[in-house]
Amino acid sequence: MIMISFNNVCKMYSGNKVFYNAEVTINKGDFIFLTAGAGQGKTTFLKLLSALQAPDKGDIIVNNLNIINLNDNQISDYRKSIGIIFQKNYFIEDETVKYNISIPLLLSNVKNKEDKVNIILDLVNLNGFGNKIISSLSCSERQRVAIARGIIHSPDIILADEPTENQDEIQSEILIKMLIKLSQYGTTIILATRHHGLAKEFKQKILSIENEKIISL
């Protein structure tokens, strides 16, 4: 079942082409490594998918919904169904880890937030960090909080931009294995990384951005 489809997508930044008639389809439950060099459009791809940016031309169809034609409120509702883990993670710095992780649940008014937060903290190896203030965490811990926040509301799609950037090798492996397991339960996951080696290591589907096109390796 096709979950994501890019049809003739064009995107330019002040005259520089990032995508030109880019086309790609991703199935439900796929785990995709998106690889490209720095500044080649990984983050743009994820921003287009999360409707944080609009393409100059083309259609982006997610779950049979063309997200280009959505109004503000529909975009907000659409974003509730995706989990985003960005390279530069934004947190409410003076709030606790628990509060930051529970934001997607707060916005969807989900019950039993506390239990879910505790389970997810266990999953990302942040047990006992719940009541710590975000600003007191290290880079690696912040990254894991971002991952926990991106997956806590069981989204249909998870978009992760270099989530293992500040992690050591063991922690990176644990996190990627956890995301691969989530994809086996039907979640579509796109993980953007600069490291081709990392992508090859886990033997998953790889997409690459080359010459303003998205190609399957």
Binding site: K80, F86, Y90, L107
Partner: protein, 313 residues
């Protein structure tokens, strides 16, 4: 269908709950950093009290003017006037369209009227020493007294009549108080316009500062699917609280000013229940002012929040 309905009801309830939470957190925010907001509160309070004082003055002038809906002219007649000439004068006055009451007072009646008006009801026993002449008091409809012809006609008649000693009118006072009222009204409209602009500028700067300081929170909320209205609610209550507090303080300031002004007239004015010729701002007027402040705050917040949100996303 039922599931969707229940989901929507649940979401609406959550939004109402969010409103309550935001009111609570805004109060907490104000109490946690009072020194950040008190200068702003005092500036808006002073501005509000200036407007309220002008409004109270206008209100009292209007109440005063209600007692002067007609021009009153008192005509002092000559001692030697006979009944025929008196009737001629009365008839001439009664024939004029703008005059609707002509009352004649004998010497005795005019003395009685004088004593009544001076709150002295003692009978004057020695009428032979009465210094007052016969008088005619006419009440005249006030219409466009700014035109030069308004008083010319009647003045010429009274001046040319041999049996009229002199006459006096309260039109000068009415003219003065009406022009002062108009001046005050224009001033208050100007003041209100300036202060609304000032109020909007202060609020917009405050909102900008708040949004910049909560930039991360707004981005996180937006990324995870919060609607604009949801984020807006978080920012709307603190300005409303600040502005309502300012208005309350402004009312207290204007009351203090009012007491000071009243004391200048040597008239006793109690703090809450005001008797006598002066009227203070009523509860309903205060509520209307509160609503006005809320509406301006909400419109300003809505407009500027949307503007600054766009810069952030």
């Amino acid at each position: 269908m039922k599931k969707l309905f229940l989901y929507k009801v649940n979401l609406s309830l959550y939004y109402y709950l969010h409103h309550l939470m935001c009111i609570k957190s805004s109060f907490k925010f104000y109490c946690a950093k009072p020194m950040k907001y008190i200068p702003l509160t005092i500036v808006i309070a002073l501005a509000s009290s200036l407007i309220l004082t002008t409004y109270i003055s206008l209100k009292n002038i209007n109440i005063d003017l209600k007692n002067y809906t007609n021009e009153k002219i008192i005509i002092f007649l000559e001692k030697n006037i006979d009944a025929a000439n008196l009737n001629n004068i009365k008839k001439n006055l009664e024939e004029r369209n703008d005059i609707y009451s002509v009352t004649h007072y004998t010497e005795e009646q005019s003395l009685k009227l004088y004593s009544e008006n001076n709150k002295n009801n003692n009978k004057y026993e020695n009428i032979g020493l009465n210094p007052l002449p016969q008088i005619i008091i006419i009440e005249r409809k006030i219409s466009n007294f700014k035109s030069t012809d308004y008083s010319k006609n009647i003045n010429n008649f009274l001046k040319s009549n041999l049996y009229v000693n002199s006459f006096n009118s309260n039109i000068a006072y009415i003219k003065k108080i009406t022009s002062f009222k108009n001046l005050l009204l224009n001033f208050s409209i100007f003041l209100l316009s300036v202060l609304v602009i000032f109020f909007i500028i202060i609020n917009s700067n405050y909102i900008k500062a708040e949004i910049v300081s909560r930039k991360n929170k707004i981005i996180v909320y937006k990324i995870f699917g919060a609607r604009n209205s949801f984020i807006l609610i978080e920012h709307i209550y603190l300005p409303i609280i600040i502005n309502l507090l300012s208005l309350s303080l402004g009312i207290v300031f204007s009351k203090l000013l009012f007491i000071y002004f009243s004391s200048l007239t040597n008239e006793f004015v109690p703090f809450i229940e005001l008797t006598g010729s002066y009227k203070d701002i009523s509860f309903v007027e205060a509520v209307i002012a509160g609503f006005f402040i809320i509406i301006v705050s909400v419109i300003t917040c809505y407009f500027y929040c949307k503007k600054y949100f766009k810069c952030i996303y």
